[in-house]
Structures are given as structure tokens and as C-alpha cells.
């Protein structure tokens, strides 16, 4: 049985104060160079929520601007405004910081997130009014505490302060006095990850048009670890988030692999569905405070806005074959093995061409490749280049080597078979998966037939191995042969028409 992509959720959270207080570039600078010009300059480079909404790549991430439309906009993008500044899009939303702080409080089950009662009162209604989130958090929002209590916790109890507009509005307490794995710092990172994952899950469930109770299994693939001093990475973010999202019929687990985590998790999920173990599986990940403002020094030095000001989150729902939605091909997966080595050509061969060879396909038989979709607006000024473009150049070069492409076709390859990067540099978030929503839509509309999702992971950063890692898989058009309960051609057409109509309606509604 095939597994199909039933729906996706993609969310961003604008967190300017967390850039200043929780991003590791800034926290490190505060330790080694507390009086630095950079720390003084950075606040002037933070963007407003309005600017974040009208930023082209962000509107692409939530589905209001297609990758093709974004590609037609001349780079850089930070000095341009998208023609819309919508909070919501067909895939998800861009949540403002004040509501997210309340969502964190709602996701906290150990009485660790303490927000001032004034702050809660000022923003509670906004969060409850959010049709995706409101019902899930209703009854979970505390009234808040006095500012005296917040200040005492921050000054005397090692709580991590929470700011909004550079004003202290709350804190995250430590969950244990001695255990570093339950320190306030770790708890803040974990609750942020959980809350942004919950937000993506709620959008995905709605977008997939399924009942929450249909989800049987959730796999979390973020890059945080939760546990205590006796089991540092014990887990389980997946089930913790599923609880808040109200997926009462689900259990789950966490899958890790640095930035390759999402691709590994989707292979796991698709296999569980294909094996018939579960009918509906969700893959999700929340965002990472540590990476906020990671390349801020370069952005500030060049007079750019601090572009790494958003957390990212996503969720993908896979179900048993419905005869309509695009399938994940489990026969021809690419993988970087222990013996592959780390030369760029070996990595790309292992991930791309080995899978194509197995499938008997040529490089140009894949309509769109989605490797790491980091936004080049962020990475280019930081000296990391245009990451997706570099991947396309390598894939194209391999194509020429294999004789799949003429050398003269090489220059046009990235534009034809590639995408421009539109995802925030949140590690696992940009890794292949941001395109799944658009891939589903384009395959359903018939504009493409096949897409390859490529996840790569820098395992060496954990200092346990010097190896690199990655897996890839192909998403393809559903030929309608494998549907579970015989759907007629009429029904298929009806479903496609409905999907397209819903999409058009969501665009018009903005």
C-alpha cells in the first residue's frame, strides 16, 4: 500500500525579543564581549511584525506566494515588499510574538511559564480568537502572576526572562534546582519547540480535512532533546505536542538526525503507513530559539535587517492511499551510508543519482528537486552562499557526467528543476520539507509529476562521528491504482476540483 500526502501545515513565529535574548550568537557575544558594538547595534536591525508579514520568503513559506512567483522577484528580497501582508495562508500562519508567549504558557504542563497577569489580559483574547489555536488552548491559559513574582524568579531563581518589546513580561522557571537538563534555559528551548510544533499540527489537521482523532501516530523530528539528568534525550516531544493539539487517538516518538531529521521521519512515517501498521501518521517539528540571529553579525555589519527573526514549524500528514493525493515512493530512496564518504560529489550521488538509478530515471525525469531550502537572502550575506543553488549546480553537474544532460543545458538546470530557497535558517526546518506543501498542490494540479525531497544532516556537529548524513525520497503523482476503497473517476475528479477550489478560496479570502 502506498502512503499519500494528505495535508501540510507550515508556520512561522516572529520572535524579535528571542533573537536578542535566546539566539546563541547573541548569548555567546554577551559572555565574551558584553560591551560589543554588535550587541548595541542589533536591536536597531530588528524588523516589525508588519515587515515580517510582507517579506516575500515568509509569504512563500505559508503558501501565499509560490516558489515560481518568488523566483521571479529580483534578489535581494529584504528591501522589497510582497503585494500582500497576510498573517494566514493556505499552509499556515505567521504568528506574532505576544500570542506565541501565551501559546507557550498553554503548552506548559509543569507550571514553568510565568507571564505577568497584565500581559495575559492584554493578549489572551487575540489567541483565543485564532480559529486554529483557540479551541485547543481554551482552558489551558493561566491568569498570570504579578511582575514582582516574575522579577523575583528571574533575579533569585535562575528563571529565563521572557521579553516583549524589550520589556520583561514573564519568565520560564527551571524545572529542577540541580539537573542541567531541566534548567530554565533548556525548558525554554523545549517549550518553544513544542509550542511551534503544536501550531503547525493544528494547521495541518485543518488543511488535511481530517478529524483529529484519525491521527494514530506522530513523529517529531526537531533538533532539541527533552529528558532529565538520568535520560537526557528521553523524549517524547511528539506525544507531548499531540496532547496539546488534542490528538487523543495518537501515540508517537521522536526521530533525530540533525537537519536530515525531517526526511528520515517522513520515510519512517510513510513506511508505517505502507506496512499497514497505522493508517494516519503525522510528522512534525517546531522551531529553534538558539538559531535566531545566527548570522546576525554579518547582517548588522552589512546594514541589513536581522533576517533570522522567525521560528519555523511544520507538520505533514500521511495517510493510506486514497487514490488521489501524491504518493511517497518507498522503493527508490536515496541514502548516504557510512561508507559513502563526505566529498560533495559522493554525497549528491548517494542521495540523488543512486535513487534515480534504482528507479531507472534520469536527472531531468524529476520535475523539481527540493534539497535544503535556506533563504539565500539570509545565507548569502553571511558567506554561506546560496545553498539550494549550490545543490542544483551539483545535481546538474552529475547529470552531465551521467550523460542525462547536455553541457549546454547545465546553466538552465537550476531554474528548470530547482526552486529558490524560502525557508528560515532553522536547521531541520528548511531541509527538503518546506516544498512538500507546494509539491502536493502542483502534482494535484498536474503541473509537475515528480519531486525529490532531499534531507542532509551535519552529524559531525555532535562530535560523536565525523560523518555526514542524508536521505532522499520521491513524491509522485497518484495513478489511482492503489486506493483502498475503490474511488470512481468521478469522485477523483470531484476531490481534485474541491482541493483546487479550496486553495483558490483561501487565496481570495486573504
Amino acid at each position: 500500500m502506498n502512503s499519500v500526502i494528505k495535508g501540510t501545515g507550515y508556520v512561522l513565529v516572529h520572535t524579535p525579543d528571542m533573537v536578542l535574548h535566546n539566539g546563541t550568537t547573541q548569548t555567546t557575544e554577551r559572555i565574551v564581549n558584553p560591551e560589543s558594538e554588535y550587541l548595541k547595534e542589533l536591536p536597531k536591525h530588528l524588523r516589525s511584525y508588519e515587515d515580517v508579514l510582507s517579506y516575500y520568503p515568509n509569504q512563500t513559506y505559508i503558501g501565499n506566494v509560490t516558489p515560481d512567483e518568488l523566483a521571479a522577484v529580483e534578489q535581494p528580497w529584504h528591501d522589497k515588499k510582497a503585494p500582500m501582508n497576510d498573517r494566514f495562508g493556505p499552509f499556515g500562519e505567521i504568528m506574532p510574538q505576544e500570542e506565541f508567549l501565551l501559546l507557550m504558557q498553554a503548552c506548559d504542563v509543569f507550571d514553568l511559564v510565568k507571564l505577568s497577569s497584565d500581559f495575559v489580559a492584554a493578549h489572551k483574547d487575540a489567541l483565543l480568537k485564532n480559529e486554529y489555536v483557540g479551541p485547543a488552548v481554551e482552558g489551558r491559559l493561566a491568569e498570570g502572576v504579578s511582575m514582582e513574582e516574575v522579577e523575583k524568579l528571574v533575579n533569585e531563581e535562575h528563571a529565563e526572562p521572557l521579553y516583549h518589546g524589550n520589556v520583561l513580561v514573564g519568565c520560564v522557571k527551571n524545572a529542577h534546582d540541580i539537573d542541567v537538563n531541566l534548567s530554565a534555559h533548556v525548558m525554554l528551548e523545549n517549550i518553544v519547540s513544542k509550542a511551534s510544533s503544536v501550531l503547525a499540527m493544528l494547521h495541518a489537521v485543518r488543511n488535511a480535512g481530517i478529524d483529529k482523532n484519525e491521527v494514530e501516530y506522530v513523529i517529531d523530528c526537531c533538533e532539541e532533546a527533552c529528558g532529565d539528568m538520568n535520560q537526557r534525550g528521553g523524549g517524547n516531544f511528539a506525544k507531548a505536542a499531540a496532547e496539546i493539539a488534542g490528538l487523543d487517538g495518537a501515540t508517537g516518538c521522536d526521530v533525530r538526525g540533525f537537519c536530515a531529521g525531517p526526511a528520515h521521519a517522513i520515510l519512517n512515517a510513510a513506511s508505517l503507513v505502507a506496512a499497514g501498521t497505522f493508517k494516519t501518521v503525522m510528522v512534525t517539528a517546531g522551531g529553534c530559539t538558539a538559531k535566531l540571529g545566527m548570522n546576525g553579525k554579518d547582517h548588522v555589519k552589512k546594514g541589513l535587517p536581522a533576517l533570522e527573526d522567525c521560528l519555523g514549524g511544520f507538520a505533514v500528514i500521511l495517510t493510506a492511499d486514497d487514490g488521489v493525493n501524491p504518493c511517497i515512493n518507498l522503493e527508490y530512496v536515496g541514502r548516504h551510508t557510512v561508507g559513502t564518504g563526505s566529498s560533495p560529489q559522493a554525497v549528491i550521488s548517494a542521495l540523488v543519482t543512486n535513487a534515480l538509478d534504482k528507479a531507472g530515471l534520469k536527472i531531468n525525469d524529476i520535475d523539481k528537486y527540493s534539497p535544503e531550502m535556506q533563504n539565500p537572502d539570509i545565507t548569502k550575506p553571511a558567506g554561506a552562499g546560496d545553498v539550494p543553488q549550490a545543490n542544483y549546480k551539483m545535481i546538474g553537474a552529475l547529470g552531465v557526467k551521467r550523460g542525462d544532460l547536455e553541457k549546454s543545458e547545465l546553466a538552465a538546470f537550476p531554474q528548470k528543476h530547482g526552486l529558490v530557497g524560502f525557508a528560515p535558517t532553522q536547521g531541520h526546518i528548511p531541509s527538503g520539507v518546506p516544498y512538500i506543501g507546494f509539491a502536493r498542490k502542483s502534482i494535484l494540479e498536474g503541473t509537475i509529476n515528480r519531486a525529490m525531497i532531499i534531507g542532509k544532516g551535519s552529524l559531525f556537529l555532535g562530535r560523536m562521528t565525523n560523518l555526514f548524513d542524508g536521505v532522499s525520497f520521491i513524491i509522485e503523482k497518484n495513478e489511482g491504482k492503489g486506493q483502498e476503497a475503490g474511488v470512481s473517476e468521478e469522485q477523483v475528479k470531484g476531490l481534485i476540483a474541491k482541493a483546487m477550489k479550496d486553495f483558490a478560496a483561501s487565496l481570495l479570502a486573504e
Binding site: 555567546t28 557575544e29 565574551v32 564581549n33 560589543s36 560529489q345 558567506g383 549550490a390 551539483m394
Partner: protein, 107 residues
């Protein structure tokens, strides 16, 4: 440059003598190459790491520069690195590296 890497560079230069050390870089862009090269020659230009204000003056090359490339086994270079020459702007990287070496390299 990563703070741990700066620390290792500093320690290794002390241990083996800066004149005996060569640093090889694999950065993706000219500017990043220049920053890393500056860090191991003139000191950390971002004032963040252990090499801040430490001018080691080490000999430093990007791995795609012709001077060092000529010393590698061509087949190994072909297998390990050659494809990246199509991706990187090698000319720009070379000119940036030359400029840093001229200014700060002591060996």
C-alpha cells in the same frame, strides 16, 4: 570562525610552532574564506574567539587554490573536491586569499 576551532588552532600553533603549520579552508564563498584566513593570520575580526588580538600569521590556503591543488594526487582531488569547482567562485576566492596572505601571513 567557530570558537572551539579557534582554540584548537591557537593550541596547535603553540604546540608545533606557527612556522610549521598550514591551514586549509573549504569555505563556500570568498568572503567567508577571507574571514577565516584573517582569523588565523591577523586575529578574529569578530572579536569573539580565543584568536581575538592574536596575530598568528599562519600560512593559509583555500583547498581550491592552484598552489595547493598542484600538490594533491589529481585522482583523489578529482574524487573528493573537483565538482565543487563548478559550484564555487574559485577566482574570487583566490584573489581574496591572496590579499589576506599578502597583508598578514608571516611565514
Amino acid at each position: 570562525m567557530d570558537l572551539e576551532n579557534q582554540k584548537r588552532v591557537k593550541d596547535l600553533a603553540e604546540e608545533h610552532g606557527p612556522e610549521n603549520i598550514v591551514v586549509l579552508l573549504g569555505a563556500a564563498e570568498a568572503e567567508a574564506s577571507g574571514l577565516a584566513a584573517e582569523t588565523v593570520t591577523n586575529g578574529d575580526p569578530t572579536y569573539a574567539g580565543p584568536l581575538t588580538g592574536v596575530s598568528l600569521g599562519l600560512k593559509v590556503y583555500h583547498v581550491c587554490e592552484p598552489e595547493v591543488k598542484a600538490e594533491f594526487d589529481p585522482q583523489v582531488y578529482e574524487d573528493q573536491i573537483s565538482m565543487m569547482e563548478m559550484v564555487l567562485d574559485v577566482d574570487e576566492i583566490c584573489s581574496e586569499m591572496n590579499s589576506i596572505r599578502e597583508q598578514y601571513c608571516k611565514y
